[in-house]
């Protein structure tokens, strides 16, 4: 079972996630679409962290699993039922199998070779999804649900409008709105479904981190050669980690498709894989909370920055004299609105250069400094010269 600290972490995490719509409302992030993205990409990042954070294998191909998950789910919507459960199950199975295949080949190499191999595999899946697999993926248009689809388990749909995704009748886009202290609070079904799944997979990831299996994965990261010299075959462990993180990605893809029943190949592009890496690094790889934090921060600022336009900028710099205002707007302009990627790239570079441990390390450093300050005044004389 979990130790006291982990129980506390789990409890705080659960409360924070479930009260998300209330906590985030004052920050302008309390609307369902963004909240759903927070938790879904949180799941993705938690899963990626099991591979990258624990074993140190830098995969550049996780977007492929995301895509596989989305496609499987939308196919379930088309063929079986609009209930999301079969879709999610199929997505996890398919992405797991896919990860098993890719992992079996790519994990024969480590280091940059592994990165390049996964990159090649993901690019290959992306190209295939665009060209040969068009009957399955519907090519550039993307896979969508239609009125004429079979949906053999569902009741016949005579309404003439597309059915919406649901969980035993609870529709994903149902939102209960209320106003509290002047804030518009929106409690969305899709968000809560994803949130409960996030909490479950977060618990799973804590268990993995604390298990002997997790310890073995850390040993792989520290020194794989020494591990092999002691007679341990590391391949099953790394492969298991790869498959688990692939299944997490498939689950995230399934949820993405459940919120908006559409799957496109652009979800599999390698820049998408890159952005998964960004989330984990930004938050702090190989920490428990870091990846979720990183995913949240990136998705939040993506939403905020994309909304800022020149008018807003002019308002901000209104107090400055005219030419300085124009200059500041000119400077900031490329970083906001459509230029969000530029900010993302720049922030990412800064993080990798100055704070390789991500935001969690930053928080730790600040925390330590405070502790040091407190203690420093008390036992300054005792510190030996170094």
């Amino acid at each position: 079972m979990l130790k006291y600290n982990d129980k506390l972490l789990m409890l705080v995490f659960t409360i924070l996630v479930l009260t998300g719509p209330i906590i985030l409302a004052p920050f302008g992030a309390g609307y369902p679409d963004l909240l759903q993205r927070f938790v879904i990409f949180g799941i993705l990042a938690v899963g990626y962290n099991i591979l990258f954070g624990l074993t140190g294998y830098l995969s550049f191909g996780h977007a492929a699993f995301l895509g596989v998950g989305s496609y499987s789910t939308v196919w379930m919507f088309k063929l079986l039922t609009m209930n999301i459960i079969p879709g999610i199950i199929l997505a996890i199975i398919m992405s797991g199998l896919f990860a098993l295949l890719i992992g079996f080949i790519t994990l024969r190499r480590s280091g940059i070779y592994f990165s390049i191999l996964t990159l090649a595999f993901a690019q290959m899946s992306y190209s295939l999804a665009y060209s040969v697999l068009t009957p399955i993926t519907n090519g550039e248009t993307g896979l969508q649900i239609r009125l004429a689809d079979a949906r053999i388990l569902d009741a016949k749909n005579d309404s003439g409008s597309l059915p919406s995704t649901n969980l035993f009748g609870l529709e994903m886009n149902d939102t209960w709105r209320t106003t509290f202290m002047g804030m518009d609070l929106q409690f969305n079904v899709g968000f809560y479904v994803s949130a409960f799944i996030l909490i479950a997979v977060f618990y799973l990831s804590i268990r993995i981190f604390r298990s002997p299996f997790g310890l073995m994965l850390r040993a792989v990261k520290t020194n794989q050669n020494r591990l092999m010299y002691t007679g341990i075959n590391t391949k099953p462990y790394t492969l298991a980690a790869f498959v688990i993180s692939g299944m997490y990605a498939g689950l995230a893809g399934a949820l993405l498709a459940s919120m908006d029943p559409l799957a496109g190949a652009e979800r599999m592009q390698w820049t998408e894989s890159g952005s998964i890496v960004l989330m984990v690094i930004l938050g702090g790889a190989s920490t428990l909370l870091g990846p979720v934090l990183g995913a949240g921060v990136i998705k939040y600022f993506e939403a905020i920055f994309s909304r800022i336009n020149d008018n807003v900028l002019h308002e901000w710099f209104d107090i400055l004299p005219g030419f300085l205002e124009t200059f500041m707007v000119w400077i900031v302009h490329p970083f906001v609105g459509k230029g969000w990627s530029l900010t993302l790239g720049a922030v990412f570079m800064i993080i990798v250069i100055f704070l390789p441990g991500g935001l969690m390390e930053g928080a730790n450093r600040i925390g330590k400094r405070f502790v040091k300050l407190k203690r420093g005044s008390a036992d300054n004389a005792k510190t030996p010269a170094e």
Binding site: G56, L58, I105, R108, R109, S110, G111, I112, Y113, S115, I116, L117, L119, A120, F121, Q123, M124, S127, L128, Y130, S131, V132, L133, W270, T271, G274, V277, I281, P334, G339, S341, L342, L344, G345, A346, F348, M349, V352, I353, P356
Partner: protein, 342 residues
């Protein structure tokens, strides 16, 4: 037979681009031991050097011709480039040959960009793990391409080859095929010859100059060369500049074939990594060989006869080859034994 010959030719121009970029990548990896994900961005920056040169050359004086009107009924604007105004025919010639002229512009610009990159950023990553290098250069690539997007927009900007090299020639006759059997654009031939010259130049530079000798020695054993009192760091920095310049001119010359857009670098980067891996990490001849080989394989697999047997093979052939090579012979075709074989 002529179809096969045509595919060989088609493979040459793509292969030349792959070979040039992979050569730059390998130079950087072989000398500095850095995996440079921003290398595709250098290719893209080179291509945009050509765009900038053309923009500068075609800066125009606008005069109104009151005699004639445009379709809106307003006086017709006549644009005359300043260079044409000043130098007449020479100016016209300059605009026509702007792609070739921009090589002269691109080499110093790209070399400076490369040196600044190495001194400013990559220098600090020699002792960090490869993963950190990959991530930092990946971030840099995003930043570079987004800056270009902010200045030049997201749409491709077509560039034309000089008129004299614009058309296509009936190359088949030279090799004894029937008339019009093998028709090939001039510019692609130019590109191939250009690539061959650049590659030959780089190899000659490394083999026949003292500077090149020191660099090669440094690639084998950096520490010993340093102990002999040679400032190997400075030479490696210059090599980074050289690699950037090679990649940049590869981009410049590629503009008439592929209109430059901001993400062309990323598109080429993945393929060129594959090329480097197939050729052997750190092996210069391997990179060139693999570049041409994969370019040709790609063009062969895009033949209709091949696609009829295995649909979609043209999209994935390069990746398939890379996987097979990595699994069967991880050091690559011409890589040294023990080089990054784990």
């Amino acid at each position: 037979m002529d179809a096969i010959f045509l595919q060989v030719l088609n493979g040459l121009d793509k292969g030349s681009a792959y070979a040039l970029i992979a050569l730059g990548l390998t130079l950087i990896f072989g000398t500095l031991g850095v995996v440079n994900f921003a290398h595709g961005a250098l290719f893209m920056l080179g291509a945009f050097c050509a765009v900038v040169t053309r923009k500068i050359l075609t800066l125009s004086q606008i005069t109104l011709d009151p005699e004639r009107t445009n379709f809106l009924g307003k006086p017709l604007e006549i644009k005359t480039a300043y260079v044409e105004l000043w130098w007449g025919d020479v100016g016209t010639w300059m605009i026509d040959y702007s792609v070739l002229l921009s090589i002269g512009f691109a080499i110093p610009v790209m070399a400076i960009i490369g040196i600044v990159m190495e001194r400013g950023l990559i220098k600090h990553f020699y002792h960090r793990p490869h993963a950190d290098q990959i991530l930092m250069t990946f971030g840099l690539a995003i930043v570079l391409q987004e800056i270009i997007k902010a200045f030049f927009g997201a749409n491709p900007i077509p560039q034309s080859a000089p008129d004299a090299m614009g058309g296509a020639m009936d190359i088949g006759i030279l090799f004894g095929f029937a008339e019009y059997a093998v028709i090939y654009p001039y510019w692609r031939l130019v590109y191939f010859v250009f690539a061959a010259v650049v590659i030959g130049g780089v190899f000659a530079f490394l083999r026949f100059t003292t500077f090149g000798m020191v660099v090669r020695a440094g690639m084998v054993d950096r520490e010993t060369v340093g102990l002999l009192g040679i400032d190997i760091d400075r030479r490696f920095t210059i090599m980074f500049g050289l690699a950037a310049a090679v990649t940049g001119v590869a981009g410049v010359m590629y503009t008439p074939i592929l209109p430059p857009n901001y993400h062309m670098g990323m598109d080429f980067l993945v393929l060129c990594f594959v090329v480097v891996v197939v050729g052997g990490m750190g092996s210069l001849p391997g990179a060139v060989l693999a570049g041409f080989m994969l370019g040709m394989l790609e063009s062969f697999s895009s033949m209709n006869e091949v696609k009829a047997v295995i649909p979609g093979i043209d999209q994935i052939i390069i990746y398939l080859v890379a996987m097979v090579v990595l699994l069967v012979r991880p050091r690559g075709l011409m890589g040294k034994a023990g080089m990054m074989e784990d």
